[in-house]
Every structure is written in structure tokens, then in C-alpha cells.
């Protein structure tokens, strides 16, 4: 019953626009990635290609390693002392774990949106302007105002906050805060945006807002989204990877995964037998 629903939502979403995307480049390639927390092996030999200008959804039951994998892509796991990463992850064919790679630069290119909206306890304007300011992307004044405006517009938040840019970002509603965080990520002009369950703390209306936004952003960014919600994966993504117990079980076109899963574990998960 649940699978039917998902299939229907996949069918509803399908339009000529999706089909029209030509053969695409791989923006990120992961080869034999292993991650250890102290001695515990959290990811096992992950091989995954993430295509440019597409939304890739990572799904799987809790503790399967999908967030861990996501956080490898912008080296956020570096901040965890006991975490060790093996294997190779390439962004535009350059190994992001090479010595010469600067994490500051990498994270500017690979932005991130977190599970819980986490705006800075500063004004809405400063939330957006912070990234461009530290990277020197825009001059103070009119140029910065323009960056803030366009970022908020792309995140679909401009109309709601344009009269209160000086008010604290923490005063917005949960859904608005999450769009503020997306606008903040966009403001530094990343190539890839990683989203770690961006809607799990939001109500259905706010979730719908964010999903629409993700679909619009796909044109300019490569998006990787971790989600627990399979309908959401079906609605927003073109590619889906299913993770289970630290392994990447299956990765395919979203449509294919939900209508014709090859692995029985995938089928078990999307039909709701476990997870």
C-alpha cells in the first residue's frame, strides 16, 4: 500500500523536464570510502557517483551511515576527533582529502544545510552576509545588499522578511529559519549543497515550501539530500541511493528504485518492512 503511494507520487512528479536532462557529468565520485568511529566501521566500501545539477537522495534506516557519508563530502567529519576516513572522494576529479585541499575553500564550494535550523543569533541580514563577508565575495554596502536580496529571493524568503532584515534570524518560524539557512548556504555561491534531513523538524506546509525550493535550486546546484521520508525522496530526487548498515546497497534513478528495486533489502525498506 505504501509502495503504491510512492509510485503514484513518482508518477505525478514525472514530467518532460526531468526526462529532458541530457547525459550528465559526475560532480562527485566516491570510491571505496570507509569511515571508522574509533574502531567501529560506520561506512563500508562506498562507491557512489553524484551527478551534476541533479538531486541525489540518500535513504535508509537510522544509523545506516547516510549522514556520515554526507558529512564526508564537505569534510565536516574532520571536526570529530575519533573519526577516520579511508578511500577517495573526488569533487570535479580532484581528491578532496588530498593534503593540498583547504577545508575552508572546500566548504565554501560544498555548502551544507542541517537537520535542525541553525541560524546565527544575529540579524537576518547578517546571517546571509556573514559568508560573503568572510570570503570577500561582496563589498559592504549596496553590493552586499544585492547578495542578501538575491539569496533570500532564491530561497523564497525575500517577500516574508524584506521589511525586517534587522530583526534576529532566530525570531523566524521553523520553516522560515530553514529557508534562511538555505539562503545562507546559497549566498557563498556553492557548487554543491548538502542537506541533512532538512525537513525533519518542520511541519508539512513548511516541508512543501522547502521541497519546491529544492526542485528550483537543482538548475544551478548539485544537491545531495539525506531523508527519512521516502515520499520526499521520491518527490524531489532524480537519483536515490539506499544505505543499510553502513553499506550502499543500491543506487539508481529514483523512479527505478521505487518501482523496481533490485535488492530485496531495498524492497523491504521502501515497502515499510523495516526502518
Amino acid at each position: 500500500m505504501r509502495l503504491d503511494n510512492i509510485q503514484m507520487s513518482v508518477a505525478n512528479r514525472q514530467g518532460p523536464a526531468v526526462r529532458a536532462i541530457p547525459s550528465v557529468n559526475n560532480k562527485i565520485t566516491a570510491r571505496d570510502v570507509n569511515v571508522y568511529y574509533a574502531t567501529k566501521r560506520a561506512l563500508k566500501d562506498i562507491n557512489l557517483d553524484i551527478e551534476e545539477n541533479r538531486v541525489t537522495a540518500l535513504i535508509g534506516p537510522s544509523g545506516c551511515g547516510k549522514s556520515t557519508f554526507l558529512r564526508c563530502l564537505n569534510r565536516m567529519n574532520d571536526t570529530i576527533d575519533i573519526c577516520r576516513i579511508e578511500g577517495q572522494i573526488q569533487l570535479d576529479s580532484v581528491d578532496i582529502y588530498a593534503k593540498a585541499i583547504d577545508t575552508v575553500q572546500l566548504r565554501a564550494r560544498v555548502g551544507m544545510v542541517f537537520q535542525k535550523p541553525n541560524p546565527f543569533p544575529k540579524s537576518i541580514y547578517d546571517n546571509i552576509a556573514y559568508g560573503p563577508r568572510i570570503h570577500g565575495l561582496a563589498q559592504r554596502g549596496a553590493e552586499m545588499d544585492e547578495v542578501v536580496r538575491s539569496s533570500l529571493e532564491r530561497a523564497g524568503l525575500w517577500g516574508e522578511v524584506k521589511d525586517r532584515l534587522k530583526e534576529p534570524g532566530t525570531g523566524l518560524s521553523g520553516g522560515q529559519q530553514q529557508r534562511l539557512c538555505i539562503a545562507r548556504a546559497i549566498a557563498v555561491s556553492p557548487e554543491v549543497i548538502l542537506m541533512d534531513e532538512p525537513c525533519s523538524a518542520l511541519d508539512p506546509i513548511a516541508t512543501a515550501h522547502i521541497e519546491e525550493l529544492i526542485d528550483e535550486l537543482r538548475a544551478s546546484y548539485t544537491i545531495v539530500i539525506v531523508t527519512h521520508n521516502m515520499q520526499q525522496a521520491a518527490r524531489v530526487s532524480q537519483k536515490t541511493a539506499f544505505f543499510h548498515l553502513g553499506e550502499m546497497v543500491e543506487c539508481n534513478d529514483t523512479e527505478e528504485i521505487f518501482t523496481n528495486p533490485r535488492d530485496e533489502r531495498t524492497q523491504g525498506y521502501i515497502t515499510g518492512r523495516y526502518g
Binding site: N74, V104, R107, F114, P121, Y130, I134, T170, A185
Partner: protein, 437 residues
């Protein structure tokens, strides 16, 4: 279903049983006992505080009143400058006690002979003669004229006027003789001797004579010492806390450092004094008794407190803020300076001010580095010999004359006022910074 219904009935009967109600009553009694114990302890603490403060204020407020003789002084040229010269060196060598004596004897003509004159002079402070000398040096034209001058009474006279020396005991047990009592009564009745409000106890520097002693030197010494402590302990403490909390790898070395910082916070303060004595005075040869060395020693003592409080404040900043900043490409230092530290500021400030408040009231380590010396001059620089308020209190409390009691209490009042102001500032800053959320 019937099982479930039976169970519900059974459970309901349990909640209505005698035994259950008895247990319920016991629980409420235990709660009431706990609340009573809490109220009793707060009441006890409040009563103790009130007793302490009342004692200090009752003992201390009289220090702001001083007895003075308002008498007409004849600036006798014979006594001041027998040679007639107006050179400052000559003028300052004049016999000013004689002027004081003549002025008082004019009010008390029956005091004759050597004994009488000495008894009269015992009633007036030695500061009176210095006052006349300073007046003459400033205005030599006073010589040869008569002027109404207010002369400071001696400690014993002052204490008798304030009622601190009992009248009812026999003469040999009293610091004021029967004859002097009679004079004091007469001069008081005539309005010559009277108590006046005076801030001398705050604005004068220290003295051997209680009626002349003030705490301005100690106040300045305390302020300078605190500035050194603040300037040294805060940057080092906050930097150490930030490094340990945000940057340092977690390994055996940082564990050892952490344990030792916690141990240092528990080290008796006098040990820091010994450290200051052997390190700063003997080894580095820094100036003895100076606010500089005192401040450095107190900074060392305060550092663990500031580090521990700052680390706790940094730990309390939600990790999501760090991730947010890292996620858009801020460097670790930018994360700390732009986001984490501003959010931790209220906690850091509170820890700092609590540490400083402790340092302000600290005596023991300063005794060892020589800040207990008797210093009359108000310190003019960090390397000048100076003393601080708590050491001043310690020295005054140790002196025998009756006048020191009220001055000690007055100094305690000032120290408490300082501490209250500092805590108020801490509360204000906390509130102010917390509004950023």
C-alpha cells in the same frame, strides 16, 4: 477484555486502599519537611547576613564623624618665626604645637603647670599642629593674625565623645582622666568641641594615629592591583580556555593539563604568595610591596577560576552554531571569534568577575610579597610600594587603640561596597549580552 477490566478494577481498589492513602500522606509529609528544612536554612543564612552587616555598619558608621575643637588660634610670630624670616624652611620649623596649646589653654584657663598642659595636649591630635603649619606655609600673611580654626581631637577624646569609652568606670581603667572628662563636658556644652561629618577616613592616607588614618592609599593600591590582575588573567585565561576547548586534541597531555588546572583552583592562596616571593621578588627582582607584583600573583591565583568558568561557558554554546559557521566555510578561528566567543561572553564575564572579586578580597598571598608594610604615601605608579584594602583591614584590626575598631569596620564597608558593585556589574553585563539570543 475481561482480564483487562478486572485488572482495572483491581488497580482502582489499590489506589483507594488504606495502605495507599497512608503512603500518600507520608509522601506529602516528606515533601513538607524538605520544604521546611529549605526555608529554615535560607532564614538562618539571612539572619546571619543581617547580623554581620548590622554589626559592621553599627561599628563603622561613627568613623565618618570626627570630633574637632573650634578654637581661635593666634598665629604668634614669636613661635612661628622668631627670626622674622618668611623662608618656607624657617616657617616649617616653627613651634606649631605651641600655637595649638595656647589656643586650647585660652579655653581652659585652669589647666596650669606641666601636668595640666600635657593633659590638654593629650586631648588634641598631633595632626592639629601639622594643619596649622600647612596653613601658614600656604598663606604666610596669616602670621600675626587671629583665626577660628577647627582642630582635630585626639583618638581618646573622639572615642569618649562618641561614647565608646565608658564614663562609669574608675579613672585608672579609662584612657581619659577625670579632669579631661570634665573639660570635654564643658567644651562640648560651650560648643567648642563637637562631632562633624567627615570623609577623611576615605580620602586620607594611612597613619599611625587612628584619628588621622584613612584608606585612600589602600583604595588606589587595590584599584591598581586589580587592573594588573584583570589585564593579565583575562587574556591568558580566555585564550587558554578557547585553545583547550576548541582547538586542542583530546589526548593524555591535555587530560593532564585539565586535571592540573582543576587542582590549581584548589591550591591555598598563600602558596601563590610564596611563589610570588621566590619567583618575582627573589628571582626576577621585581619591586617589593608593589601593586605590580601583587597583581601578577593574584592573576596567577585567579587564572584557574577564569579558565574553568570560560571552558564551561564555551561548552554550553550549542554545537549547531559551530557547524553552521564551519558549513559555510568559516575557519576554526573565525568560528570561535565571530560566533562561539560572543555567545560564551556572559559566562566568561561572570567567571572573570567572580575571580576578580575573590582576588579583591585576598590577603594572605599579599602579606608574603610585602604589601603588608605601613605605607603613608598614596602609590603613584605600579612599582610604588602600596597596600590593598583587605591588608589594610588586617593591619587596622590588629592595632590596639579603640579608634581602629570603627575604622576597620568602615574599611570593611568600603570593601563590601566594591564587591557589591562588581557583582552588580556582572549581573548587568550578563543580562545585556544574553539579549543577543
Amino acid at each position: 477484555m475481561t482480564d483487562l477490566a478486572q485488572e482495572t478494577v483491581l488497580r482502582r481498589s489499590v489506589y483507594k486502599s488504606e495502605a495507599f492513602e497512608a503512603q500518600l500522606r507520608r509522601r506529602y509529609r516528606a515533601e513538607r519537611r524538605f520544604q521546611l528544612a529549605g526555608i529554615a536554612s535560607i532564614a538562618f543564612a539571612a539572619v546571619m547576613l543581617v547580623v554581620l552587616l548590622t554589626t559592621i555598619v553599627l561599628n563603622g558608621y561613627t568613623a565618618f564623624w570626627q570630633s574637632r575643637f573650634d578654637v581661635e588660634v593666634f598665629f604668634d610670630p614669636e613661635a612661628i618665626t622668631p627670626s622674622g624670616s618668611r623662608e618656607p624652611a624657617v616657617l616649617s620649623a616653627g613651634d606649631y604645637p605651641a600655637l595649638v596649646r595656647e589656643a586650647l589653654l585660652a579655653e581652659l584657663p585652669e589647666a596650669t603647670g606641666r601636668d595640666g598642659r600635657r593633659a590638654v595636649m593629650e586631648m588634641v591630635s598631633s595632626a592639629a599642629a601639622y594643619r596649622l603649619r600647612d596653613m601658614v606655609l600656604a598663606h604666610p600673611e596669616l602670621i600675626g593674625t587671629r583665626l577660628k580654626v577647627s582642630l582635630l581631637a585626639s583618638d581618646n577624646t573622639d572615642q569618649f565623645v562618641k561614647g565608646h569609652i565608658p564614663r562609669a568606670v574608675s579613672e585608672d581603667k579609662r584612657k581619659v582622666s577625670d579632669r579631661q572628662v570634665e573639660w570635654i563636658d564643658r567644651l562640648t556644652a560651650r560648643g567648642v568641641l563637637a562631632s562633624h561629618f567627615s570623609l577623611d577616613v576615605l580620602t586620607q592616607s594611612n597613619s599611625r594615629q587612628p584619628e588621622q588614618a584613612g584608606m585612600w592609599g589602600a583604595v588606589i593600591g587595590s584599584v591598581m592591583t586589580m587592573l594588573v590582575t584583570l589585564g593579565m588573567a583575562v587574556p591568558i585565561g580566555v585564550a587558554a580556555a578557547v585553545y583547550l576547548e576548541e582547538f586542542a586534541p583530546k589526548n593524555r597531555w591535555t587530560d593532564i593539563i585539565e586535571v592540573n588546572i582543576n587542582n590549581l583552583a584548589a591550591v591555598p592562596s598563600i602558596v601563590f604568595g610564596l611563589l610570588g616571593l621566590s619567583m618575582f621578588l627573589d628571582f626576577f627582582g621585581m619591586p617589593r610591596s608593589s601593586a605590580l607584583v601583587g597583581g601578577v600573583v593574584l592573576a596567577l591565583m585567579t587564572l584557574p577560576t577564569i579558565i574553568i568558568a570560560s571552558r564551561a561557558a564555551l561548552k554550553a554554546v550549542p554545537p549547531s552554531i559551530r557547524e553552521a559557521a564551519l558549513g559555510i566555510g568559516a575557519s576554526p578561528l573565525q568560528v570561535v571569534i565571530h560566533h562561539v566567543l560572543p555567545l560564551a561572553a556572559p559566562g566568561v564575564l561572570t567567571g572573570t568577575i567572580l575571580g576578580l572579586a575573590r582576588a579583591l578580597g585576598e590577603t594572605a598571598p599579599l602579606l608574603l610579597i610585602g604589601m603588608v608594610a605601613f605605607i603613608v604615601d598614596v602609590p603613584g605608579s605600579l612599582s610604588d610600594p602600596s597596600t590593598v584594602l583587605p591588608v589594610q583591614i588586617f593591619m587596622w584590626a590588629d592595632s590596639p587603640e579603640r579608634g581602629w575598631i570603627e575604622r576597620t569596620s568602615a574599611a570593611i564597608m568600603l570593601l563590601l561596597a566594591f564587591l557589591i558593585v562588581m557583582n552588580a556589574v556582572a549581573v548587568y553585563l550578563r543580562k545585556r549580552f544574553e539579549r543577543r539570543w
